[in-house]
Symmetry: D2
């Protein structure tokens, strides 16, 4: 299983009136971490869409342990936990600079074509997805 | 168990380049539906915060079945599935105007005080939360 | 000049760590108010896009006078200030329930086709845009 | 006048159904670029708030020239155009990797204390704001 790490700095717009990062933004960070996962493996999700493979979120689970604050330096550890031709599953662990685990999550995806019907990922792509970056 | 319904119209800013509502926005709709749930019961979450009760999201689960599109008329059915003094759990069913089930979800919450330590909701508040609107 | 009014309630996700509505969200409210302006005139922007007319934001100006807070009841007064075949300009006045003017704004738009090239709106559509709702 | 450059990669969640970055997100990028401007000068906006100086947006102007797309590499050039003790003004030029100018903008800010009343920035802070990074 391939794991990558993506760093980001909390934006002011990502906070809410409780003074912490609004819980919906972790899904945006998961998505951003998936994009970066692909880039670290030499792929680009924008290319996948141009080639007619649209990865759609079918399920999400998040556990919130500790809040993140504006300007915190955050790392997202992303693991491709399952890679089938029609289903991908990623898990995430989000930590702050002190290494404290803030949030854990899991997302499931199906792959559809331009007509929104399920399609299979090419085997070559699956192999690339499951080969750690050099 | 009390259930309320909240209606909304999909905003353009809620869509993404796949032409559908971005999956993170359903968490925002869940939250908005919770606010409306309270208002329909004669409560206001802004009052709860002013009284020192901050309801924090501790867990989220979402299943995405079918997409929503810009200007779709959406209804969110919100049920308070568990109401303990230190834990609340809501479930949600989101449908479009044709009645098609688009998304199902579940959120768990703990209650904290202004110092971020767990506190118990007053019994009177719990009773109000579990009494259907007149 | 046609003016319409659109009401909304501030969402928690629209606030930031300063405890007020984040300034970028007023652009989302302007956009939502434009959508509602069209609906009040018997039009729908989703139909316009289906007919190949994409209204694109080319310029925005906002003056922030007073903050809005979570659960505030907000009204957006929207005026179509200019309606040419290739250019639309809207102005906005946002108030809270006490009638206090919170934000004023202006947006300019050009109209493009599916190929992103400028196109002219049909005269019949312009007439509809400049005829007050019954 | 000090100018800094901030790089970012377009997130999927920042796009809308027109397939391009939603126009409200440029305000978020301006804000992020301001945060980074301060960090490049050895300051941190989170420290300023902890010291009781809240920088509030009072005016915004944006001209949109060309769209940005998912995964585009974007640079934001940020200039502190005016620095008075009670007023700051920034200008921005956003370009893509090909150097094409996408968006220009301007934001005005006032400084308020924890009680939301206008306050003056300390002279030492103003000096730091107007001294280019080493």
């Amino acid at each position: 299983m391939v794991t990558t790490t993506t760093d980001l700095i909390v934006r002011y717009a990502e906070t809410d009136a409780q003074g912490v990062v609004h819980h919906a933004n972790y899904l945006v960070w998961f998505e951003e971490a998936r994009s970066d996962f692909l880039r670290q493996l030499g792929l680009a999700y924008s290319d996948m869409e141009r080639n007619g493979f649209f990865v759609v979120v079918s399920e999400v689970g998040v556990t919130y342990r500790s809040p993140a604050f504006y300007e915190d330096r955050i790392s997202v550890e992303t693991t491709l936990a399952k890679a089938r031709r029609r289903l991908l599953e990623f898990t995430y662990r989000i930590r702050n600079r002190e290494g404290r685990l803030l949030v854990e999550g899991r997302t499931r995806h199906i792959v559809v074509g331009p007509d929104k019907r399920p399609v299979s990922l090419p085997k070559s792509l699956l192999e690339q997805l499951t080969t750690p970056p050099a």
